[in-house]
């Protein structure tokens, strides 16, 4: 549950007077850095966030009268730092008392010199915060909510709106996540060595999940929610600068930039989805495409073998480079999916590969692969399996079977817009069946 003071703080944020709007914008710019710097000092996200928000409340009280200071970020940090000092002093007193009781309470931050602690590289702080918020000890839902909250600077309400869940659920998720991190004694650190790649994978997964929820909303009335895509893209771009030698980070950024380049073309005039091969390519955002291709080049230049994200980025790039759908290099896409399937085998990857095979070598070859996936338990309620199967059957002139598959797909999706599209396809097949 949220404490009354938290609610008061969020309420304070909502008051949108002129000065407060400036403060809110500054908060958006500074909050992640602020929380990160404080988390390193005090050791946990929950306390760091509270200290940062206390500083925000102080700003809301003082700045409307005194004016916004010249360096608002530094002002917020030094205000929060004073409170952190008090807190650590109190903790130390407490620890001494514990020690007197013969208990061994040792806090990592006990010996930290506060001034050097604050002046050290901000980049490492942010990275530490990202790794902490995306710690594998947390459920993916919790990681997503916590990341958007402490790194994205989003309010609980904004996150709830993005994921179409009640505000109270998100608030609880965040509170529980913070508690779990504390109970599991998760340290504020930038992992290195073999642990780093596993932890990084968890971070990339969270960012990609946020992106995908915006890109192809799993539920609700809207087919896409661009603000989630923008948020994920921003996090990815930040991460690419914080960890420039990680090729998978650039791979993920490439994938997201190129997918985002299609956002405008993916939705028709009345909000209906438009699938990749039917899109008007002149409506793609060529600035994002060139950014995506540059990110992909950055990943490739790092020399390491391409990981799953870089490979998927390369697949997206194949589409981006094709001036028309007919010019798509499908055999290369098949080869890239082969590589993804080797690194990160999954039925969904196999399904995508089958689509590419169908395009490169004909619908019969694709259908053979899709049929092999039908018994797969994890795809049992995955609407894209019957959708793909329907598509291939339709190309083979088996309209009646295709219609049944599209109907099935429509019954499985939870997105209203996608359901309409699939029903329309089913109707088209029915019509073809009559004439054909």
């Amino acid at each position: 549950m949220r404490s009354p003071s938290t609610r008061a703080r969020e309420g304070a944020l909502a008051v949108a007077t002129e000065a407060n709007r400036a403060i809110e914008a500054i908060w958006r710019i500074e909050s992640a850095r602020l929380i990160a710097g404080l988390a390193r000092i005090v050791g946990d996200i929950g306390t760091a966030e509270e200290l940062a928000q206390d500083a925000l409340v102080a700003a809301l009280e003082q700045w409307p009268a005194s004016g916004v200071p010249e360096k608002p970020g530094a002002w917020l940090m030094s205000t929060a730092k004073h409170r952190a000092t008090d807190l650590i002093r109190r903790r130390k007193t407490l620890e001494r008392k514990y020690e007197e009781l013969g208990r061994d309470v040792e806090r990592d931050q006990g010996g930290t010199d506060l001034d050097t602690a604050i002046d050290e590289d901000v980049g490492d702080d942010l990275l530490g915060l990202i790794f902490m918020a995306c710690h594998p000890v947390l459920s993916t839902d919790a990681r997503v909510a916590l990341t958007l909250r402490v790194l994205g600077g989003l309010t609980t309400e904004e996150i709830a709106r993005g994921f179409l869940v009640p505000v109270s659920s998100i608030a609880q998720r965040i509170v529980r996540a913070k508690r779990t991190l504390t109970e599991a004694h998760v340290r504020f650190e930038v992992p290195s060595g073999p642990e780093r790649s596993a932890r990084l994978a968890s971070v990339l997964e969270v960012i990609y999940l946020i992106f995908n929820e915006g890109y192809a909303a799993t539920a609700g009335e809207d087919w896409i929610r661009p603000s989630l895509c923008e948020e994920a893209l921003r996090l990815g771009r930040i991460l690419a600068e914080l960890a420039p030698t990680e090729s998978e980070v650039h791979g993920l950024v490439a994938l997201m930039e190129i997918h985002a380049s299609r956002l405008r073309a993916r939705v028709g005039p009345s909000g209906e989805p438009v699938l990749l091969l039917d899109q008007d390519r002149s409506r793609w955002d060529h600035l994002l495409i060139s950014r995506g291709l540059a990110a992909l080049e950055r990943a490739e230049r790092l020399g390491a073998a391409m990981g799953p994200y870089a490979l998927q980025g390369a697949i997206a790039a194949c589409h981006a480079r094709a001036a028309t759908a007919a010019e798509t290099d499908w055999p290369r896409i098949v080869a890239l999916y082969d590589a993804v399937a080797q690194l990160a085998p999954s039925p969904v990857v196999e399904l995508n590969r089958a689509v590419a095979v169908g395009m490169a070598f004909g619908p019969a070859a694709g259908l053979e692969l899709v049929d092999a996936l039908v018994p797969e338990p994890s795809l049992k309620s995955y609407h894209l399996l019957p959708a793909v199967r329907g598509d291939l059957l339709r190309k083979l002139g088996r309209s009646e079977e295709a219609r049944a598959e599209f109907e099935r797909a429509a019954s499985l999706t939870e997105n209203a817009r996608e359901r309409e599209l699939l029903k329309r396809r089913a109707a088209e097949c029915a019509a073809e069946g009559m004439t054909g």
Binding site: A22, E24, A25, R28, I29, G123, R234, E241, R283, L287
Partner: protein, 115 residues
């Protein structure tokens, strides 16, 4: 949202002395901060208007005019394309730029293109 930041030439016209190394370093530091915050999508500096051209449309006629152009204060010297969450955020970022003169304009790029 995406915003375009237009740096107006103002006093820093073609004749102005090139920026000092110190000023350049300050600018680069600021630009790096923007990139690290995931704000910059694109950026560019324009060459002097003496090297520019204008094409005027009048019915079916097209007239090409050579630079330099007279209204120096309004001429664009450089641009940034930023991805931000609000106009207020763009304003707060821009206020931090290490400039001691000139005018900068922030315009939202409409997401509804003509098509």
């Amino acid at each position: 949202m995406r915003v375009l930041i237009l740096a107006k030439e103002g006093n820093q016209s073609a004749a102005a002395t090139p920026p000092t190394a110190e000023a350049m370093a300050e600018y680069q530091k600021f630009n790096e901060e923007l990139v690290k915050a995931g704000v910059v999508v694109a950026a560019g500096r324009l060459s002097p208007s003496s090297e520019g051209k204008r094409v005027q449309f009048d019915g079916s006629k097209r007239r090409v005019i050579d630079g330099p152009f007279a209204e120096t204060k309004e001429l664009v010297a450089g641009y940034w394309l930023w991805q931000v969450r609000s106009m207020d955020e763009a304003i707060e970022w821009l206020k931090r730029a290490p400039y001691d003169g000139g005018t900068f304009e922030i315009r939202e790029v409409s997401q509804h293109e003509g098509a």
